[in-house]
């Protein structure tokens, strides 16, 4: 189980940490900076984390997934700091004996991460910037 906040998330590192002779299926989700949001052009994102709590919450989610599905290996990496269009910001990976558990657990992990992990994203457009989700 590899859970980290890092300046640069690395797909190759994630894949290597998911190696397991008992795994038949690996699902890796990578969230990347999209060039548009809410109909506006996005120039960059900046991520801020309450690091000790974010890691605790990520570990809780990982344990919840391990209790629900037979998981061989699990990885959750989230970037902090400034990220440009196309750059990866989060990597979630699950290795399991069968693909069904890998897909389902991977989806669960990213959905839960977005709900509870104290990380905040500021979206920068040409003319202003907003903290995502902050207002109704």
């Amino acid at each position: 189980m590899l859970i980290k906040l890092v300046e640069e998330v690395d797909v190759t590192e994630a894949y290597h940490s998911l190696q397991s002779p008992g795994a038949g299926g690996i699902d890796i989700f990578i969230g990347t900076v999209r060039n548009h949001a809410q109909g506006k052009e996005v120039t960059k994102l900046v991520f801020e984390a309450y690091a000790p709590m974010a890691l605790k919450e990520m570990q809780k989610i990982a344990r919840a997934a391990q209790q629900q599905w037979p998981i061989e290996k699990l990885v959750m990496l989230h970037a902090v700091g400034e990220k440009l269009v196309g750059e990866p910001v989060v990597i979630i990976g699950v290795a399991s004996a069968h693909r069904d558990a890998a897909f389902t657990a991977c989806r669960f992990l990213i959905d839960e991460l977005k709900k509870t992990v104290p990380i905040w994203k500021k979206e920068y457009y040409q003319d202003n910037s907003v903290w995502v989700n902050a207002h109704p």
């Binding site: 969230g31 991520f47 801020e48 984390a49 309450y50 000790p52 709590m53 974010a54 605790k56 989230h78 910001v89 989060v90 990213i110 991460l113 977005k114 709900k115 509870t116 992990v117 104290p118 990380i119 905040w120 994203k121 500021k122 903290w131 995502v132 989700n133 902050a134 207002h135 109704p136």
Partner: protein, 79 residues
């Protein structure tokens, strides 16, 4: 009491930490939220505002004691 601030709460207060004087006599998470809403009207306009005590989400009735690490958690947006 010192409160850690992140994201939009950091910008509302204009600092990464907020020091609250002992004479404010804030004893629970709920009282802290009420005090913040009074001091910083912009906090009341957020979609939600949670409080973490010792890096765990805390209910409104949780007591606040000295020595704890208290943080404001505005709506998260990781991923």
């Amino acid at each position: 009491m010192e409160i850690l601030l992140f994201g939009i709460t950091r910008e509302i207060v204009g600092s990464g930490t907020l020091k609250i004087k002992p004479e404010e006599t804030i004893q629970t998470v709920g009282q802290l939220k009420a005090w913040l809403a009074g001091q910083y009207p912009a906090m009341g306009k957020l979609s939600s505002l949670a409080v973490a005590v010792d890096s765990e989400y805390a209910d409104d009735d949780q007591p606040l004691q000295s020595g704890q690490e208290v943080a404001l958690i505005p709506p998260v947006s990781g991923g």
